[in-house]
């Protein structure tokens, strides 16, 4: 029956594309997590009356974050072509999409990280200071663990945005479900392929949301 309804869907292609989508998403989520936390920390710590209070550094970081957040993703990919070519040695395939994905998502996540840190009880940071904690102790043993549920739910939102970015990246030949839907589905008017790819992407989104929610809930002891 599936054959009748989806005459043009090739399961092997579907699994390859799913694998590519997952690959792009997971690697870019990891990259976004690292870069986003670094930028978020920088935004937070250089703020007025904070540990590394520094107006200059704060303005620079904020400007970079805001600019990259403002550029539409599809344009970012095109702008980053030379950089991607230099970094990955290619502008095609899943790996070629990674720099744009990470650079596109990290500034967004950085803002969520900053908000999460701002929500950490000032009193707790002060208590740590009163015990003689160094800045890195405050970062790793207070800020990060105390904001963990917010960092995770922020990362879930970002990961879901990244899944849709990977589909867009498909248009420039990055591979994955977006690529499959566009090249094999849309261009050949095979709507069943477009539909199958959509269902797969929605399922992936649901799985990410489910894992994120569960993790965030489990870690929240408030």
């Amino acid at each position: 029956m599936l054959r009748e309804w989806f005459p043009n869907v090739n399961m092997e292609d579907m699994w390859t594309a799913t694998y590519e989508t997952l690959y792009m998403t997971i690697i870019s989520v990891i990259g976004t997590l690292i870069l986003g936390i670094i930028l978020g920390l920088l935004l937070f710590l250089t703020e007025k009356n904070n540990l590394w209070q520094n107006r200059f550094l704060n303005s620079i970081t904020a400007a970079v974050v805001n600019i990259f957040r403002a550029i539409p993703f599809i344009i970012l990919i095109l702008l980053l072509f030379p950089f991607t070519d230099f970094l990955m040695g290619t502008i095609r395939g899943p790996n070629a999409a990674l720099p744009a994905l990470i650079i596109g998502a990290a500034p967004f996540y950085a803002r969520l990280v900053e908000i999460a840190f701002k929500e950490v009880d000032k009193g707790v940071i002060e208590a740590a200071k009163s015990m003689g904690a160094k800045t890195h102790t405050i970062i790793f043993k207070v800020l990060l663990p105390e904001s963990m549920p917010a960092l995770i739910s922020g990362l879930t939102v970002t990961a879901i945005a990244l899944i849709s970015y990977t589909a867009m990246a498909g248009v420039i030949g990055a591979g994955g479900l977006g690529d499959l839907a566009y090249m094999k589905g849309f261009q050949r008017r095979d709507n069943d392929v477009v539909f199958a790819c959509t269902v797969f992407i929605v399922v992936i989104v649901f799985i990410f949301q489910f894992i994120g929610d569960a993790l965030s809930r489990k870690l929240d002891k408030r």
Partner: protein, 342 residues
């Protein structure tokens, strides 16, 4: 042991400059519980935060065991802070850590190896009466229990001083008393110096040995708790003392007991310190052929003994009344015979 000299903090804001702490000088002895009382905005929190430099002083110095805290480099200050425990009104526990891990936190900061940490933490949990709750998270504890964790955490690195900023202000009266009892027992057991910030006279009365009264950044009065209670000098101190003995200065109600009859006298008994605990009235009744009629009064227990006043009517033969008042005087209670009220 703690010597504070000319300590000031000036906050510069857009609209005005605020002298939150204004030229405060105090000496605090080893092992004493020193209270600082004042109304909201008096500068108490700023003052206590200047001691461990959570706030940088604008002027003056703080010496703890001859270490000049105000002159320390950032690195040395961090080391020194490990020897200055602090507890807070809102406890400031890490919600992400269990009771055990919260208490272990200052030990991690001090670089104590995890095997040694265990013994210290378990000992502290025992000390503050939280045995069996090691694996609970702060959200599963009551306010009083949270403050116990806060106290254990503050004691972890065996500090010389404990700074308490409104440590009981978020607790109900009963829990407040439990926490105050715990602080007294720790003070006695460890000979720990405690600086206690509060806006409640009850706290000062219950546990402090000496007290400073703060108003608008200045210390307007300081001394032994009993002295400040008995003879408050400043307006602020008087207002605080009145909180505790609302019956004071209502002598007019005594009026009808005061007569020309020489077989009846109204006397004011003024208890200061240790003697108030003794069953004086019972003692007097047993010893003399006299009737004692209690009219009004209030007695407040403090760390240095009870203090307060009691108005009684003594009925009996004139010379027995004379002997009785003499006897009460010799037992260390001030006696004032009230002949008329104006």
């Amino acid at each position: 042991m703690i010597s504070i000299k000319g300590l000031s903090k000036l906050y510069k804001t857009k609209h005005q400059d605020v002298k939150a702490v204004d030229n405060v000088s105090l000496d605090i002895k080893k092992g004493e519980i020193y209270g600082v009382i004042g109304y909201s905005g008096a500068g108490k929190s700023t003052f206590i935060r200047l001691i461990n430099r959570l706030e940088e002083p604008s002027n003056g110095e703080v010496l703890i065991n001859d270490t000049n805290i105000t002159g320390l480099s950032v690195g040395k200050l961090r080391k020194e802070r490990q020897k200055i425990g602090m507890i807070f009104q809102h406890f400031n526990l890490l919600w992400s850590r269990t009771v055990y891990d919260n208490i272990a936190f200052p030990l991690e900061i001090a670089g104590v190896p995890s095997r040694e940490r265990r013994d210290t933490v378990l000992e502290l949990i025992e000390l503050v009466g939280l045995k069996g709750r090691e694996q609970a998270y702060p959200s599963q504890l009551s306010g009083g229990q949270k403050q116990r964790v806060g106290i254990a955490r503050a004691l972890a690195n065996d500090p010389d001083v404990l700074l308490c900023d409104e440590a009981t202000s978020a607790l109900d009266p009963e829990t407040t008393d439990d926490i105050l009892d715990l602080l007294v027992s720790i003070n006695e057991k460890l000979n720990l110096t405690i600086i206690m910030i509060t806006h409640e006279m009850h706290v000062i009365q219950k546990i402090c040995h000496r007290v400073a009264v703060m108003d608008q950044g200045k210390v307007v009065e300081h001394g032994d708790v009993l002295d400040v209670f008995v003879k408050p000098q400043s307006k602020t101190a008087k207002r605080f003392v009145q909180q505790l003995s609302p019956l004071e200065h209502k002598q007019d109600t005594l009026h009808r007991f005061i007569t020309k009859d020489e077989n009846s006298e109204v006397v004011k008994l003024h208890f200061i310190g240790n003697d108030a605990k003794r069953a004086l009235i019972t003692d007097v009744i047993k010893r003399f052929d006299i009737e004692v009629n209690i009219l009004q009064g209030s007695i407040s227990p403090t760390q240095e003994g009870a203090y307060g006043t009691l108005y009684v009517e003594l009925k009996g033969a004139a010379n027995t009344i004379q002997e009785t008042t003499q006897y009460i005087r010799t037992s260390g209670v001030e006696v004032e015979v009230i002949r008329d009220v104006t």
